[in-house]
Symmetry: C2
Subunit: 333 residues, 2 copies
């Protein structure tokens, strides 16, 4: 295992220190329990938004803390759920009197722990709602999940819900918008290589020299099937067909297209994937009106990508376009 | 070789098509000869800035085209210099009557071709100046370079020169500022793995399972030495000592610190490197007042990082902070 780390059990703490040193003007970092929070939290009268999950998917979620997106993020150890006390303290730290939304990717540990944190928050008089994302069409039930896994749509949901919260919409509205994003979003990914967690030191799975895993999970959970490597256009067709047929997305739809790198794939390749996705959708009469291309929900150094589509309407488009000012996503701010 | 591509000889063209489809509202793409240019070029009365080089280092340079940074970028084939006709056509496309600055990384092919393009531009009546970056302290003379290689400072120089050009400073001033950034900047990198160009299909070099190459070049050119993997803090010390002692950077200096990922290194690790760099510099009385952390000058899927320092003064800080609006760097815009 070759990694730029000091010790496997110090990875998350060391990285948090780096984040605090880099962005201390805009973020605060708590270490025990661990969470990252907007420096100006709680924002009076604004719904607070908290997300979190295992580390190793950076910039998600810590890189999305800031005006127009998350109020706080709770990082667990690598590929391990954060604990309820992290989530509870983050919830209290962002509660500006308008309630708190938890955005939770559908993994059993995350859901259970956020659920507990929600109960604890309510017991302290904080209004809490939770939205669980489950956009991955690859498989039903998985290594760490009952139902579908939550993947790329989480990034989009955090951006759009964050914009709604900035408009001082009430908690029920912000949660509804978040649910709508999840309901109108679908994803699927592919791995060309496994990744290695610092604690195990071993690749999460094995793949042949000329093989890829279609439908990979973001922790290396098994996908739908393996097959020999193919040209990008064919891989895009595999992923996008599954995504488009699932919702389904129809001719005339306008979508946000999110081409996400898993961490170890050059940006050059992601632009090729975007090109092939554009062509695929165009042939079906589906128009990309917004896009996001880059490494936003990663799996350490895994090579591969995922495709996420969100069916847009005027409101979601407007909220997507609203200013955002976080370490990883920044525009109009 | 596992890559998300359609064919080795179609990589650059396919990616350019993706870039045009993604950013067509702000960039124009020319295919023959290949360059990416601001949609509003030429900007009347503004110095035009052109850079370029082999592809495979994305987002450099194409991702830096936009207001406040580059006017145009010329992508060569992967790890191969673009040709003089690309550079000439880009120069003509961005000439708004105030002259054109070429920012050239010090590799023999790039320098030669930009030199020829400069002569051709001048023959057509365009005022052209060139600045060659050569910030890599690792080695003198290298596989593709006489003298030092140009690496991370190029990103910073493009940002700061772009801000000066937006202020409508004359060509001589913009070139002076660019030279000053190069003169006050130093870099060194480390590779944990090689990378594979699409055309060769083979790793650019071999590294043992527990080995790293200190002083690596961005095309996999040999560095200073190899040694066994070490904790991040020790790797940072190796790189930062070479960088700091070279200029030298002294106690009391304020610097911009740029921790750059080579493409295959998780962001989580880059934050650990940033933490360790901060500590290293703090012990020497050097203060980081600005920073950039992420994958900006990459080597395909190579794992590793580079550290760049720029000694700041008030003017360079102000120009760094100025608004920039490009696909890869965006703030205040």
């Amino acid at each position: 295992m070759k990694k730029l780390i000091n010790a496997p059990d110090a990875v998350v703490r060391d990285a948090l220190e780096g984040i605090e040193l880099a962005y201390g003007d805009r973020l605060r970092v708590s270490y025990d329990p661990a969470y990252i929070v907007r420096a100006d939290a709680p924002v009076e009268g604004k719904v607070g938004i908290v997300s979190g999950g295992g580390s190793g998917h950076e910039p998600m979620h810590g890189g999305f803390v800031g005006r127009g997106m998350l109020d706080a993020a709770c990082p667990g150890e690598v590929f391990t759920s954060p604990t309820p006390d992290q989530m509870l303290e983050a919830t209290k730290a962002v509660n500006g009197g308008a309630g708190v939304l938890h955005i939770v990717k559908n993994y059993t540990g995350d859901v259970m722990n956020f659920d507990m944190a929600s109960d604890l928050g309510k017991a302290e008089g904080i209004e809490v709602e939770a939205v669980v994302t489950n956009d991955d069409v690859a498989v039903q039930d998985s290594l760490y999940t009952a139902g579908r896994r939550g993947v790329g749509i989480t990034v989009i949901a955090e951006k759009i819900s964050g914009a709604a919260a900035e408009e001082r919409r009430p908690l029920a509205d912000v949660a509804d918008i978040c649910r709508r994003v999840n309901a109108q979003g679908r994803s699927m990914g592919v791995a060309l290589t496994p990744c290695t967690t610092p604690s195990s030191g071993e690749p999460s799975f094995e793949l042949g020299d000329d093989e890829m895993e279609i439908g990979i999970g973001i922790h290396g959970e098994p996908g739908r099937y393996r097959e020999p490597m193919a040209p990008a256009a064919q891989i895009v067709e595999r992923l996008a067909t599954a995504v488009v047929e699932d919702l389904p997305y129809d001719s005339g739809d306008q979508v946000l297209a999110f081409v996400n790198g898993m961490g170890g794939t050059p940006l050059l390749e992601l632009f090729i994937v975007y090109r092939d996705l554009h062509r695929f959708l165009e042939e079906r009469g589906i128009t990309i009106t917004r896009r996001l291309i880059g490494n936003y929900i990663t799996s350490l150094e895994m090579a591969g990508c995922s495709i996420t589509l969100l069916k847009l309407d005027d409101e979601l488009t407007r909220l997507w376009d609203a200013p955002v000012d976080t370490p990883a996503l920044r525009w109009g701010a």
